[in-house]
Subunit: 495 residues, 4 copies
């Protein structure tokens, strides 16, 4: 099934009220949630657009029917590349974060890890998960992934915390399911998702057994509270503003207050040995997703900067051209890392094709390291006007209207109205509360650079490099080239 | 005279209404201007505080009386160092830009340039300016400097612009004065300044003669319109917020619409040969001022980051310590550049002691290049919470109040209330509209890095370096060490 | 045919003496050329090693026989990825530059451009070139590409130069061929190549017609002088040194002093409109080659740094681990750019599959920008010992031998001899004349970062980004997603 | 007394042979030491040059006579600034490291620490040291500082090392003195110094008591072996080369093999509590010295790059100008840090005026972080010719002489000979073994960036920044401005 956005809205607005904004409980039709819902709308529209069939859709390996690609389990490198492309496509339309990748990454992590747990322990998680996924596909659901715990004292492990709610945990195991409690934080998209999929956030020890828990619940399940922070631009104050101002995002503290999860929806329950694995599967898949969305953010910043240069009539200056070219590097190196992660990915026991962790991590780290610099480039090119320009109303009314139209004209080829829209766009993209969100998410989403560094320290084949150096230094007699021999791209998936 | 802030307010509120916000004409008591006025208040308070006598005050060289240092003409390197110190002191209290330096830098540029014009041409600008300055000192006035023209088409000179108002210019010369028109833009502080001091923004050719104009007018003079954009944090929405939220800033388009300037207040009138000189005198003085305020901004970012690390209980992690130390480098290298600019400054013909342009420029360029990186550091240390934290009201009321108090606790040594204030501060400092203003002003205020690069390309003694290389390469027989011989620090001003 | 290295040597040593070193004419058996020849030996050995069949070899599209891949014309993306892999493999064995890629890149540029010239003008260059290539394949030749002209006054075009030899040019056109003269400079590998392939270095105007010339000649052809600068490590002074010291490189001024080129070997003769195209085809292919060799250089630097950390017993320090992970980023982002260049490459009219220019350029620019930083990392990790360690002989003889064995021991798990070899390797890799060569070639080979920036300014689809911004800003009604629609990976070449 | 360089040579050549190079014992007149001696000659020449009286000389506080400033104990900020100036002056003449600062920094560290030890413990080290210094001043001695121990296993403290010689230590305490053993490494200048001054390299614990030792011995004292690594350019191979090739440096392993030190020359003997203090006093003083020499290195690199740009006739290109301006920033920010360290320095109990540690460390860290980048700039500007240019002899003789003269001409205003010298200089400065030495010393000399980061983490007033943040966040009621109040420049020393 491919829901229309209207069907998505209907389902959403029929849910129980468990959203809190500014100390009050509000419905999912609260206008402050609308900018985020509009982003999700893009994902529903694309899937029904014949032009993007096969990019925005895929054939479900569990139902055999056409599904929205966001719910797909990639089967080969081409699937991963199509996911990357879909993310960039959607993110361009949304003016940034397309939000729905987190559900994709969560179901893939679960598909893989449930199989591995079953193979190791003879459990039946993978069967449960596959049953769940069938429904997910049939109903074209949107899942939000709740991973990051509030963590409490960072110097202590989950089981050592004074307040056990610092990490999501099992409070009670019943025959028919489990009861869970705890805080997840910085969870994007939760207030307008159908489902919340919870995963552990870190490696766990045996004493942390109760914190090894994964499951899916409807987003309005009893006991769940979504304490929400919407970030969006004031569209109503700015009727002439373009699509960029129509889109936005909400983040939540997802507070599980003794939530019951039926057995069939529990996908990990005490397997602390797999805590790190499941956490990383989501993280690495999500880092691969950034190789799709981050290039779109660079595209937008590049476009904003190029328009600003045009408005200032300085497009030909060599230092401007040099700066514009840096966006190309930022966007395409990240995109290339995603491509390499796809063609050097691996087929897991579950059948899911998983991106190569090294390329996923070097790509994500690069984007996390350069995002502030890209905003800096925009600022250097656009000048100070983004924060000193009069308000919209000044251009629309009052005694200075005519003077301001003269004021705003720098490039004789552009009308005052177009010039004005360019500068308002530069402000919205580069100097708004939304810009702060993008900068900070650009550093931390999916793991900040230090997290990728840690992943690389663990996963990169440093021993191969040392062997190479020992050979060249004359310490070892011969060179072991196995790293080169074993590295082969996989091109499956294209007719 | 040292005005109290109350006297300053009285003077301000008695002015003619010529402020425009959002298409409407408002008085100077409009609450949106209050955060900026509060910043100026600090400068009046400091001057009357006995503890800061000699730092916040100086002895006027024209009246012989004690004046606010912001109105002072530095006579020696110590005066420049005291200015730098006062700026850092005030900027720390204001949570950033102290705003009043622009008047200081403008009167110094005029003091020097009027003398040089008179010496060259036999004019009487310096006498006029000195008379003006006497009143300025006697009344403890605050001057705003209007330098940056709106510029129109950047590829054309002032006299080539289709709309002559793209640059401020002389419309008519009368016996008793001149009539001027044009747009100045991105002018900070104008709506709560006593005086507007206008200066040219660039080098001029003979055909640009009418654009070579400098003068001072009251900020509410007939024909002057201040189209204002206030930037400030929503104090009223956040009653528990600290001083940081009380302060703010406004920028203006200063629109001169056939303003008459009496002869005695005209300080340049057609001397196009001095356009570049006067523009650079202000710019270089202002760049030196940044060696005072930018360290204060780094102090604040460093403090915010250190508090965030404390709240997360990760202060001892080596990568956190490394990042914190970067703020020390950013702050103190900029401060050191200001010190060097002072001790290698020069006594001008006017008697004003002027900072060394090389050190002023290398210092300002460094701060312009690193500001985004410093915000990046704060983000890396603080994590994503600055943009995902629930609103203030969620912590104050409603059914999640108690849960959020548990949620916010990470370091057992800090109360929930303190933790909450820390994270709100991190948001206000790092992810607010004020933060966008600071980033963009941090790049462009006083000239962006490319402007300092141009200044260095012109002013730095590259010929000395080439001579050195020619000697070492064996091309020249001997080495001319004159650059070393002539470089002597000046320590005047300390008993 | 796949020559043995011995056959290669025999052919080489039978050539006419036209090598000049230090003012003297020497044979190709001069020991100073041996380190470079040893690098080429690797390429012959690999092609005959069954383990690397299909990587180091390919099936010639012109003869249908198995050839050395260095002489191959890639037919699909997989061929490009195999080339990249072969380069990394060979470069690891050679301790750096494998040198033979330049011939590969030159024949590909000619294969494409001769076809395009013929299609445009009805010439017969492509037939000539294909005939030449058959022999090249049959004899397993190694071609050196002479592209960079000495250029004379950079402010003048080729035809404006006072000395026409500043650019290689046609002196005379005869019925049976052409006579050419001029200087090519910084030409790697020429003194031990079989053939010299000459190409233009820049865009040309109609008046530069005589400078539009491309051809191939034997490296010892009459009139050709190779004024050679060998760079290598003093193996003989260091008998215990490992393979790294056995390899080296030579660069030349290739001086064409009225060289006659028979008609059948002339591949461009006056087609100035194709000057830029042919120059860029070589450059972009060569930039793609860097995505193979530069990762190998990072591998070596990473291995050297990791061994140094082990020798100092500081491998676990967090700042060391962070630095080591930076090599992973440098190597794999460059490699990923090459992979993306391959899968987004294009089939040209000649049948050659050509790497995508955007990915080739963003990848090469990245490596050119980070090479010095990578040596900096090695220095930070290894400490100062690379330039302060006693000479090899001190460890071998004399009264301090025993003391130095104690001195060198820092990690109890390593023998003095191994420690000593590690530090000598660090010196050879990081502080030798070879290191200077690698740093400088790492910036300039195939075009310095500014050249890639220029290529990106021309080739990157900035208009797409501006359209995107205009849509999001509300200036354009709808979004043109054609850039996304048209971007499709090509996975041809794998069964 | 101010020795002539001839007197210095006579003294040097009369010393006992205890220099080892390449496994052999050589005299101090070995030609491989000559380039280093030539550097020291500059320091003797300058002191006797009337033009530099007061810069290169000072009045000894212990003898009251004029001495070489390198032996001076700074009494006020002006003395520190003069030291900085003298270092830049000398380093420019030497083409880089002037080497003699290490003696200056060692005697200052000892002057301060001996007084502090005596004040704490009632010892008489300061009197002994002052007696020693009198002779040092009377004889115009040059002292080399041996600080860095070989350190053995970095994970172990000095007293835990398997081989006690890993750190210099007291073997025996006798009535008339002490016997010491151990390795010091990477010790610059030792083979042509009069005296070796040994200091501890790190903080010590009580169990490390025997490693708390400081003293001075003649450089040829019985039992001392200087295992030497000379780095210099091959002047004899390059008779036309300029002064740059005449200068060089030697580093040593200083091997104390049961060396007896008479009591009067022992300045620390077991005071482990002062180990860190003495180590840091030297380090911080030496870091201040870098604010003199590093600007000279930037001057040289800047000059080389500017000459290369001139030779290529590309001086006006905007990207070249931008790069040249970066040298100005690198040089003058470091110089400014030194100036600030001087004016914010402190008078110690010994009377010595000591540079402010914060400014000394931020300055030194900056130079350590940017040195590779500066060489990168030179490479970008100069192109690849530095490593591909034919040898000197090719330009001097043989059949290609005339052709090469044409080849080398790019700027018609420069002769072939001058062009040739420029490129050879670029090679010598940027691509020689000397260049490797400068890069590595540029990172590590006086402590690598990580060492300055650690010093800043300990010394910087982070608590002040946290207080500021707490005030602005509304956590603390009022602001403690004491850091601003207490920070006062000291301008003593100028009439």
């Amino acid at each position: 099934m491919l829901r229309t956005k209207e069907q998505y809205h209907d389902d959403l607005f029929a849910m129980r009220s468990n959203i809190y904004i500014g100390g009050e409980c509000v419905g999912r039709d609260d206008p402050r949630l609308r900018p985020g819902i509009s982003v999700l709308d893009i994902t529903f529209d694309l899937a029904r657009d014949p032009e993007w069939k096969g990019v925005a859709t895929a054939i479900s390996p569990v139902t055999g029917e056409e599904i929205n690609r966001w719910a797909h389990l990639p089967q080969n490198p081409h699937d991963l590349i199509q996911k990357q492309k879909l993310i960039r496509l959607g993110a361009r339309r949304a003016g940034g974060c397309i939000q729905r990748c987190m559900g994709h990454d969560a179901i893939n992590a679960l598909a893989i890890c449930t199989r591995e747990m079953d193979d190791a322990n003879g459990t039946e998680y993978h069967r449960r998960f596959t049953d769940y996924l069938k429904v997910y596909h049939q109903k074209d659901l949107d899942g939000c992934c709740a991973q990051t715990d509030s963590k409490g004292d960072r110097m202590k492990r989950p089981s050592e915390q004074q307040d056990p709610d610092a990490y999501l945990h099992i409070v009670e195991e019943r025959k028919d399911g489990i009861v869970v409690s705890g805080f997840k934080m910085s969870i994007t998209q939760a207030p307008y998702a159908d489902e919340i999929i919870a995963l552990p956030t870190r490696a766990l020890g045996e004493e942390d057994r109760n914190f090894a828990v994964a499951f899916a619940v409807p987003a309005d399940v009893e006991g769940l509270k979504l304490i929400t922070r919407p970030v969006w631009l004031r569209e109503k104050d700015n009727p002439k503003a373009g699509p960029f101002c129509r889109y936005g995002v909400s983040d939540c503290i997802v507070f599980f207050d003794n939530v019951f999860v039926p057995r069939e929806r529990v996908f990990m329950c005490g397997e602390w040995q797999f805590g790190r694995r499941l956490a990383l599967l989501f993280a690495d898949s999500h880092r691969h997703s950034y190789s799709g969305c981050k290039p779109a953010v660079s595209d937008i910043l590049c476009g904003a900067a190029a328009l600003a240069a045009e408005a200032n009539n300085i497009e030909k200056a060599s230092h401007i051209k040099e700066k514009l070219s840096e966006f190309a590097g930022a966007a395409e190196l990240a995109y290339a890392a995603g491509i390499a992660a796809a063609v050097f990915g691996e087929k897991t026991a579950s059948g899911v094709f998983f991106p190569n962790e090294i390329y996923a991590n070097v790509g994500r780290r690069l984007t996390g390291e350069t995002i502030y610099h890209e905003y800096n480039l925009l600022t250097e090119i656009a000048g100070g006007i983004a924060v000193t320009m009069p308000f919209n109303e000044d251009f629309d009314k009052g005694e200075n209207k005519e003077a301001l139209e003269r004021f705003i004209l720098r490039n004789p080829k552009l009308s005052p109205e177009t010039s004005c829209k360019i500068w308002q766009f530069v402000e919205n993209v580069g100097a708004s509360s939304m810009a702060s969100w993008y900068k900070i998410a650009g550093v931390h989403g999916g793991g900040s650079p230090i997290m990728e560094t840690i992943a690389l320290n663990i996963g990169y084949n440093f021993e191969d490099k040392k062997r190479l150096a020992r050979y060249l230094a004359g310490i070892d007699e011969s060179l072991d080239d196995s790293s080169m021999r074993d590295s082969k791209p996989d091109f499956t998936g294209i007719a």
